[in-house]
Symmetry: C2
Subunit: 299 residues, 2 copies
Amino acid sequence: VAAVNTAVEQLGYRRNRVAQALRARSTGLVGIVAPQVSNPFFAALIEALDRELRDEDLELILADSRASVEEEARRIQILVDHNVDALFLIPTDHHLSAPALRFAQRSGPVVQIDQQVDGVESDYVGVDNTLGMRAILSHVVEVGARRVIFVSGSTGSRRREAFETEVRKVKGLVASPTLIGTFSVDFGQEAVAQLLRRRRLPDAIICGADIIALGVLRGLSDRHIDVPSQVKVTGFDGILFAEFCEPPITTASQPVEAIAGEAVDLLRARLSGDVSPPHRHEIAPVLKVRRSSRAIEAA
Amino acid sequence: VAAVNTAVEQLGYRRNRVAQALRARSTGLVGIVAPQVSNPFFAALIEALDRELRDEDLELILADSRASVEEEARRIQILVDHNVDALFLIPTDHHLSAPALRFAQRSGPVVQIDQQVDGVESDYVGVDNTLGMRAILSHVVEVGARRVIFVSGSTGSRRREAFETEVRKVKGLVASPTLIGTFSVDFGQEAVAQLLRRRRLPDAIICGADIIALGVLRGLSDRHIDVPSQVKVTGFDGILFAEFCEPPITTASQPVEAIAGEAVDLLRARLSGDVSPPHRHEIAPVLKVRRSSRAIEAA
DNA sequence: TTGAAAGCGCTAACAG
DNA sequence: CTGTTAGCGCTTTCAA
């Protein structure tokens, strides 16, 4: 019998995972819903999650929500229909994503990543935005900035709150009203245009994401405004390209591997029946100081 | 009865797609195996494929092969085990990926994207590398380059062949021996180090991918070699960040939406029973001339 | 037109 | 210890 088994399996028999899934009520599939796969930060995160999940014999079903709450809800519904064993969600909106998140939770474990929906009890893994903002702000004040402005996409609510709380704690900093748009290079460029319609440039532009900072740099360079001598710029996330642009961007770098590892650990625990209250895991970002915020030597 | 159906369904009934899949022998899942999700070109491609597939009621299972043939084979096996209805494959090696590709073909439609495996009959959608190389080479010769070198990752075989064929057709160009490494920023930097161990810089460094070009730029800038006045640099793919680096990189831009659209069209045809011989769809890239290859005004 | 039954491939449970 | 059976939820087929 054992011989038959061995022979048959070596002759290419593979058990049917669909039938298995029907019987066992477990597909071995995990969904991930992200606002934009082409944002290098999310792409890096997805790559890291994929790698972690491989060791668990779980496969990733990818769904891009295009930063739309409706699309997000739709994609979650579809993933749930496919009986994913669990779901990773990078919420699109800290408030409007709540119903979709709650719905997802009804059918299995959900781990929120990077962004947190307000007022919903749920597992979460992400970076500590307060620490990150504090590091960025104490750095820019150190290199001589006084007037600062925050520029971010609409979802970065926790990050925005962190900015607004921390900026008050740092002596000598004055914040102009925050500029909110989308997480895109284009918005970074547009933000510069908006800024220049005001009286004068701040000393530092604090961006909620590296891709926004990239656009800000381009907007400034198009107008022949030098970074860092005329204005300093910082990003957030630590994407590869923040290091390879000109000037390289100072950023709060998210430890993507650690986040993915922690997220999968949480998932594994839930899948093996852990019913303890939601965990919120906040991982410290790493401040990478680069030329975009360098102090001016001779004043 | 109809009333009951309506009522039941509105009360949250959803049919079980796993049971449906078992019965119908169709899961509604499509696999994609890519060498590196965090390469922005692949990320953009995956995003575009996801969008196209959404309209077909198909979901994407993502598998990163980490540019390893063994891992690629393993991931394909797993996707096949999950009964994906079809597979997109961005092969890791134009030769060594052949067994895995053949294996995948035995269990359903496969569309190769971006890279082609030699000697296997298979659907394929990608860019016309010959056209792209020709455009790049005639451009660099026009801006005064004479000695050129090709720097690429190991897989870019078609692209490399295109370079080596086309470079001979352009009057006035002389090619140094090609440098082959990996598709990464790091390799771009390393390639510059290797180049500088030789006697003298070429006039133009033709990179097989934008991310390599990014590394080349950094390697050159670290050594205070100016682009484009001392050496010209070109990329391939047209990733967003090729436009937002310094200097912006001249590149053969791949029309990602068109490629994804074509790939899904092919898939749809195969899924609805089309058994015509393999289609090879080569789409023309668009040359984007940027500062990294600008002619020097005053010679 | 409506309803019952069979079976997709698997595994847990139970009988021999 | 081995072998049979039932049933996961669906859809197709065939009968009433």
